[in-house]
Structure formats: structure tokens, C-alpha cells
Assembly symmetry: C2
Homo-oligomer: 331 residues x 2
């Protein structure tokens, strides 16, 4: 049995969507057990089926808009987030899934789960949709604003193992986010990173990728520093949201438009779902000694269930040990 | 009369769209005259009405994929791009519009038009659509990959004058592109720039803007270094393109879907137009001694005409002198 800890109190719609997501995940997979960390009374309101689900009582919640994430974790050791994180380091759990405040989760994961020795910097790596049938991994979506090129090589290795083992992509291609496709484009750092990627035999380096191909990328992994990749992620989000608004504004114009909208309702809903973050699951914090998945703050039950499935896949495929031995062999 | 030079040979669809665009612009405005720089024979194929339009014969074209832009400009002084640029510095023209290769145009503009004394670095500033009725200015979309904070203050001043005089926005708000809205977010450089913006009384600094609001921004000008802003522009482009593909894939599914698509055809076309770069006009290269507008390489006649109108507005409003005197007074 794979044991998964769920931070039931973190997220915009907690604990409802987290509890319902846990029940959905249990139905999808036979080999997982879930522990919900949180307020038993609040959880029980939504827990209609406790097959392979138990509750661990905790006290306190790290709020979504927490200004001092490290302080919040240190002074709320009995919170649902802190307790679920600790349960991965000390046991009994193999993985944790949380929709809680990102910076607090990262800080908490460093303090309570710990970093792998061979990874000098962790990376947040969401899996994003493309126009094709394969998603892509984006990193570092917000961990390290300024980072040394050699640490990005470690992150790239982790993402490569993840893409292969969890997403099932054979020999995944790595792309460096850049302002031009030619060699030698970008900042000094981008040039250095590109060189290191090229020299590393364990990486399948495709080269530079311009984000004008961001939803149909020629690589399976797109990497940059934590500032740039975060800007890319947020620009995708903002453009998708803005285009959705414009589409609505335009489509309802005129009588024909209204009729068309009526006929297209079902398809438009599917389109919206496809672009919605809740369909993609969570972002893995790569580089920790345990499996920590950050689900979207606004996760609904379906998306949260996907994040739990994703966490179980990372455990099942033994990703962290595989990365360790790969980085260890090369060190 | 405002005199505008058009590089008729630069662009993916040159000279057809450039010549047709020039004729459209002439119809829109009574107070402009256009000179088309290029191959007279190729131009005459499309020039069906030469009211206030003359042709200047040039030889050679800077190709769109030019690898050595500075070399290309230096060794092709009789090309349509070089000649049209020179005509702004030496006269007789007030402005130039080109869809030619961006890097060559920037290099050529520095060599043949020259930089303003009070602007240490030029900036490329496209005007982009929002979900509201006002567009926003993005800069620097690709000029200076690494830049000093104080030079960004000069660029911000130029953009503010431009927003006020050309876009008609009173006291335009300036936003710094960043990964969080709180003060002190981002890289060391972002913190420094934010401080300088705050201290500058001539700027209406809004604060940090996350690109998850990029199509409904709380500011009229979004600024970052030339690497980051270029990444933002290309991510908008890539997301819009990818979403368009997904929308098409989804909408045509099923019988109802096909019917809906039929009824919605007109509205979808308008939506596409609204998101299309050709509707927005061109990007100004801010910081030169003359008015240089870069129209999209893939410009069609309508978009190119808009870029000509835009160029005439910058001349009519005397933007460069207004910026000069503003920066001069403060120096």
C-alpha cells in the first residue's frame, strides 16, 4: 500500500474539495491509503465514504496569504500542513499533497522533509497542457529567483527522470526557455546553462525554446530560473484567462452568435476544462527527500484527486531513489 | 504635411501588404505623405492609387532571418531599410515604418538615426490588447537583455509621455512586471528599479504587476528588462496561438458543435481579429532621435496601415521633443 498524507485544511475551498478529492482518488486506485490531516469535525462534514481513509487531528491552518511563511511553519507545528509534511519524513507516509500557500509549503518542506544531498536547490515543476496529447513540465516555477547554472543541471536531471517514469515519455527532450532559438541567445546565465546541458550526456538537450511555442513545445521539459519560469507560468495563466473573457464577450454578440453559443455550449465547456489548471493535477517540489505535491490553491476535487494520483505515481516509480542514484553516480 | 518613409521591401508579405497598407493609411489621414522605399517595379504591381505616395528606388533587401544584422545594415546602405532610416535623420522624412527583421532594424536605427542623448538605452514597445477598451504598452520587448535600473527609468518616462500623447491616457500608470505584487518581490534588479520608480515624481508608479493579469492589467505600461518583457510577449503569443488551436479542435466536435461553429463563425472571426497582432499596429523603438515604428513581420495591409497612423500620431504629438525636454529638465 502506498500511504499518502493530505493537508485537508489548505486551499481556497478546503476542506471540502480536498476531502472529496481524496474519496475520488481512492476510487481510482486500489493500492493507496490516505490520511487526512485537519479538523475532524470539518472533515467529517464531507467524508461520506472512509474506505482506506483515516483522519489525523491537527490544530491550526497556515493561511493562504501568509506573509511570513517560514515563521508560520515554525510557530504552527501542529497545523495540518506541518503535520502532514512531518509524516513523510518520519513516517508513516510516502507522500504529501497540499493546496496550501506555496511559499509556506516550500519553506515547510525544506524544514520538515529536507532536501536531497545531491540537489542543491529544489524546483517547483507544474505539468501543463499542450495542443498535442502530451503535457510538458515547466520548471522552476517559483522556488529560486536567482540560481547557479550547475544547480539547474541537477534540476533538469530530476525533471528528466520524472518525465520518463511518471509521464511515460521515453528519453524526454529538455528545452531551455529563451528569447531566440539560436545558440548563444539570452543572458550570460542562459549561455552558461546551455553549455552545461549540452555537455551532460545524461540529458537529452534539445536547445533553446521560445515561449511563442509554449503550448506546442518541441521539448517535454521547459526550464529556466525561478523568476523567468514563474513569469512564463503566470503569463500563460493571464493570457488564457483574458482570452476566455474576450471569447465570451465576442461569442454572445448578435442573434446568430447567441444561437451558436447555445449549440457550442458543450464543446466550450470541454475547452474550458482543458485549459483549466484543475485538470492537470499538481506541481511537484523536486529535490526533497520525500514526495511533496503542491496542488493549485483553487483546486476542485477532480484536480486534487489528480494530484493524489500523481503523488502515488511518483512513489510507485521510486523517482527519488532513481534520481539519487543517477546524481550520485555522476558526482 | 507629415512625411512618412515606408520600407516597402521588409516583411513576410512585402511589398504587397506594405504598399496596400500605405494606400489605406493615406485614405485614413489627410495630413500625411508617404514615400515607399524599394524596387519600383515590384511596388507598382500593387500601387493602384498614388495619391500623396511617391517611390524612391533602392537596391537590396535585408532578409528576415539575417544572422548578422549590424553587418547587413553596414554593407547594404542602399537597401530599402537603410535608405528609409537615413531619410529620417537627414530628411526629408519625419518617421519610418518597417516590417523588416527586428534586430537589423534596431541596429540600423542606432547607426542611421541615432540615439537621444538623454536615453542611454532604447526600448522596443509594442502596444497590446486587453479585455477592456484600452490597450497597454509593453517594454522593453527585446532591445536590452541586461540593463541598469537607471536606464529603465528613462525608458519608463518615454513610455509615459507616449501613453499620454499618443494613446490619450491621462497620467498613465506604470507597472513593474514581477512574480508577486508585494513590495520587495523579485530579483535584486527589480527591487532597485521599483525603488527608483517610487522616488521619481514624474512617474505614476502603480507597483508590481503579476503577468497573470497581463490581458487585464491594472497599469497602462508594463515594464521589465529586455529579456523578461520579451519572454512575456512571446508567452502571450504562444498561449493565444495554442488556445486558438485547442478551441478549433474542441468546437468542431459533434453535430451540435458543427452547427454552433456555423452560427458563431462571424463572432469567432472577430475574436481572432481582436487577438491578432495585425490589429494593434506596430512597436515603437523608443529612445531614438527620430520616429521608428517596427510593424510585425507578418503584417497584413490593415495592421501596416495602423502602424503608419501610429507613426504619424507620434510625429503630430511631437513626442520625441516632449520626452527630451522632460528628461533634460531633470538631468
Amino acid at each position: 500500500m502506498i500511504k499518502i498524507a493530505v493537508d485537508a485544511m489548505g486551499g481556497d475551498y478546503a476542506p471540502k474539495e480536498q476531502v472529496e478529492g481524496a474519496m475520488k482518488a481512492i476510487k481510482k486506485l486500489d493500492d493507496i491509503e490516505i490520511t487526512l490531516y485537519g479538523d475532524p469535525e470539518a472533515i467529517k462534514k464531507y467524508l461520506t465514504d472512509d474506505t482506506r481513509i483515516t483522519i489525523e487531528e491537527t490544530n491550526g491552518v497556515i493561511s493562504m496569504g501568509e506573509k511570513d511563511p517560514i515563521g508560520a511553519i515554525r510557530s504552527n507545528r501542529d497545523s495540518s500542513m506541518a503535520r502532514s509534511l512531518s509524516s513523510v519524513r518520519k513516517g508513516p507516509n510516502d507522500a504529501v499533497v497540499s493546496s496550501g500557500a506555496t511559499q509556506a509549503l516550500i519553506a515547510g518542506a525544506h524544514i520538515l522533509v529536507g532536501r536531497m544531498k545531491s540537489m542543491k536547490r529544489t524546483a517547483i515543476a507544474p505539468v501543463l497542457p499542450t495542443t498535442g496529447d502530451k503535457p510538458f513540465i515547466l520548471l522552476d516555477a517559483g522556488g529560486n529567483i536567482e540560481i547557479k547554472p550547475e544547480f539547474m543541471v541537477q534540476q533538469a536531471q530530476f525533471a528528466s527522470v520524472y518525465a520518463e517514469e511518471v509521464l511515460g515519455i521515453k528519453n524526454p527532450k529538455l528545452g531551455l526557455i529563451n528569447i531566440g532559438t539560436e545558440d548563444g541567445k539570452g543572458r550570460e546565465m542562459d549561455k552558461q546553462v546551455g553549455e552545461l546541458f549540452k555537455q551532460n550526456k545524461a540529458l537529452n538537450f534539445y536547445g533553446n525554446v521560445e515561449p511563442k511555442e509554449v503550448l506546442s513545445p518541441p521539448a517535454d521539459i521547459l526550464i529556466s530560473d525561478g523568476f523567468t519560469a514563474n513569469i512564463v507560468m503566470k503569463t500563460i495563466e493571464g493570457t488564457a484567462k483574458g482570452m476566455g473573457t474576450m471569447l465570451k464577450q465576442e461569442l454572445k454578440k448578435g442573434l446568430f452568435g447567441k444561437l451558436g453559443l447555445l449549440f457550442s455550449a458543450h464543446n466550450l465547456k470541454r475547452f474550458k476544462k482543458r485549459m483549466s489548471p484543475s485538470e492537470i493535477g499538481g506541481a511537484m517540489i523536486m529535490g526533497l527527500r520525500g514526495v511533496v505535491i503542491k496542488a493549485q490553491g483553487a483546486s476542485k476535487s477532480e484536480g486534487f484527486a489528480n494530484a493524489i494520483v500523481q503523488a502515488s505515481n511518483v512513489v510507485r516509480q521510486d523517482v527519488i531513489n532513481k534520481v539519487s542514484s543517477r546524481l550520485g553516480e555522476e558526482a
